[in-house]
């Protein structure tokens, strides 16, 4: 299954890509293999070069222990099939690794705890004893969006609920909207 970029190889966007000294793609493992191959194809078409990414310097980054691509199927097999690891392009990647903790180098226990998550999701259970646990949704809202935060739209932008399922997102959103202070108004805009 392949998808095609809608970029015309003779266009301003194509010219931008042609002039790139480097392309960086973060969280690449969360991408569906078809999307990465789509980018590879359009780069090759623009550069008229069959080398990976048309010979443009390309750095992908990420952690395969983290979020896998969204799939319609459930379980490790569809996840593996949708992963960039199943791309014919993957063997051409030169893999470089960072091992040493950096962000939480002062707290090695916490680092070890985070590392444990996602290490081997079939056989291992990780105790979430290093995290604060909140039982109910109202409590969570009070914790994440206390009144001081709700009154400041900028602060609100820096926080978010993460939900594993799309259907609970609407429920969260409704509860949050109910808490907002002030008058409701609709802004209409035109998008091209």
């Amino acid at each position: 299954m392949s998808i095609d970029s809608t970029i015309n190889p003779i266009s301003y966007r194509a010219d931008l890509i042609r002039n790139a000294a480097l392309i960086i793609w973060d969280e690449l493992p969360a991408t569906n293999v078809a999307a990465m191959e789509c980018v590879n194809n359009i780069c090759s078409a623009i550069m008229k070069n069959d080398a990976p990414f048309g010979g443009i310097r390309f750095v992908g980054a990420g952690d395969f222990r983290q979020i896998a691509p969204v799939t319609t199927g459930i379980g490790p097999i569809p996840a593996r099939q949708a992963s960039i690891l199943s791309s014919t392009l993957w063997p051409s990647f030169k893999v470089v690794s960072l091992y040493q903790p950096y962000r939480s180098a002062q707290d090695l226990d916490y680092t070890a705890f985070v590392d444990q998550i996602g290490e081997d999701f079939e056989n291992q259970e990780v105790l979430l004893d290093m995290l604060d646990v909140i039982e109910t949704l109202p409590e969570a809202i009070d914790f994440l969006f206390p009144p001081a935060v709700i009154q400041d739209p900028r602060k609100c932008l820096t926080r978010a609920f993460l939900s594993p399922l799309n259907r609970t997102v609407d429920e969260f959103n409704k509860k949050m909207l109910d808490r907002l202070i002030g008058e409701e108004c609709k802004q209409l805009c035109m998008t091209p």
């Binding site: 301003y12 890509i17 099939q81 030169k94 950096y102």
Partner: protein
């Protein structure tokens, strides 16, 4: 003697007398083709090529183009025949006939180079140099005090044939002090250059005022790009007179499309700051991070403009908090600080917001969102 030969070119000769003979050394099409740069491009060999290939003996070193044809006679040489005393052999010109060269024994000959109008630009400066300097190649002619100049115009100036302070300078200065608009200045500049004043020093001095109105526009950005746009407009004035920028030794503008310009403009005014930022990041890296950083740099030959012939992609892996983002940010700032383009994308909008100028891959590469993209 030719009817159109002006008297000043036969200085020292009695004009009314039958002697001396006057030779017009052509600065003909052969010279006009000099931009090709190769001395061997025309094997049929114009007189100028013959001059460049004059015999290698020291006797010929100090002879200018004119001296050479005044003082020596050229005869066809049949290979294998013996040379007389005082005969010298030309440096062979590939595909051309070799001549023997003999000092003129009797009579006087006056040579001059065919007149080239100052409006001819580079050819004019070439002719001026040929008048004054002995040389054996175009490159040697353009080399003054050991420095090879890219244009005859510049070389002639360095050689001191023309004064830097010319009327063109005064005309432009005066126009600026009279508050002429940059657009008017560009037109004036084109006219001055077409009149034959050295273009390069004028451009070096007035490039910025000539581009002043273009620095502020969205399409322009920094001064360098504005000068680029100014050159583009000057080029169109010159082309009205069937001339081009290169005729006058001026640089060709680098044409860029809007998205490239927008991207470059975002960072152009902060290049120093980005470079500083990248440097301090690089200094604060752990040994592991800086090893990975230089691995990436070397793998991609990032110091070069073009990527290496074989340029496999890199995957930077690491668990949370190992400094992937930190390293990539330093990499991006480093390249942007050198005035080049880095496109940063991420799989999700949230990850994209971590980077300056980051977007989703779907947005930048216009990946259609289809249900099918998730199926296999």
């Amino acid at each position: 003697m030719l009817a159109n030969s002006p008297p000043w070119c036969v200085f020292g000769a009695v004009i009314s007398a039958y002697n001396p003979l006057l030779t017009v050394v052509p600065s003909d099409k052969a010279i006009r083709q000099f931009t090709g740069g190769s001395n061997t491009e025309r094997p049929s060999a114009s007189l100028l090529m013959r001059y460049f290939h004059r015999p290698p003996e020291a006797l010929f070193d100090g002879q200018t183009y004119i001296d050479y044809f005044q003082n020596f006679l050229l005869y066809g040489h049949t290979p294998g025949t013996l040379l007389k005393e005082n005969d010298y052999l030309e440096v062979p010109i590939p595909g051309g006939i070799q001549h023997k060269v003999r000092p003129r024994q009797k009579g006087v000959k006056v040579a001059r180079i065919q007149i080239v109008s100052p409006t001819a630009g580079e050819v004019f400066y070439l002719q001026s140099l040929l008048n004054k300097r002995p040389a054996r190649s175009f490159e040697e002619l353009r080399t003054i005090d050991g420095i090879l100049y890219s244009s005859f115009n510049e070389a002639a100036l360095r050689f001191g044939l023309f004064s830097d302070q010319n009327e063109g300078h005064y005309a432009l200065s005066e126009a600026i002090s009279c508050f002429c608009t940059p657009a008017q200045l560009r037109f004036l500049f084109a006219r001055i250059v077409l009149e034959g004043y050295p273009a390069v020093p004028l451009w070096d001095e007035f490039g910025l005022p000539l581009a002043q109105d273009l620095t502020g526009t969205l399409m322009a950005g920094g001064p360098e790009r504005a000068k680029n746009l100014a050159l583009e407009r000057i080029s169109s004035y010159l082309s009205d007179a069937s001339r081009s920028l290169s005729d006058f030794g001026l640089p060709e503008p680098v044409l860029q499309t809007p998205e490239v310009i927008m991207e470059l403009c975002r960072y152009e005014h902060r290049r120093g700051e980005l470079h500083q930022g990248a440097m301090s990041c690089i200094q604060s890296m752990t040994p592991e991070q800086s090893t990975v950083f230089s691995t990436i740099q070397d793998h991609f030959a990032l110091g070069e403009t073009d990527p290496p012939e074989v340029c496999n992609p890199i995957f930077l892996e690491g668990r949370p908090g190992r400094g992937k983002t930190f390293l990539l940010k330093a990499l991006a700032a480093h390249i942007r600080g050198s005035g080049r383009i880095v496109l940063i994308v991420a799989s999700s909008a949230l990850a994209a917001t971590l980077y300056e100028g980051g977007r989703t891959a779907h947005n930048l590469f216009r990946i259609p969102i289809t249900e099918a993209g998730m199926h296999h």
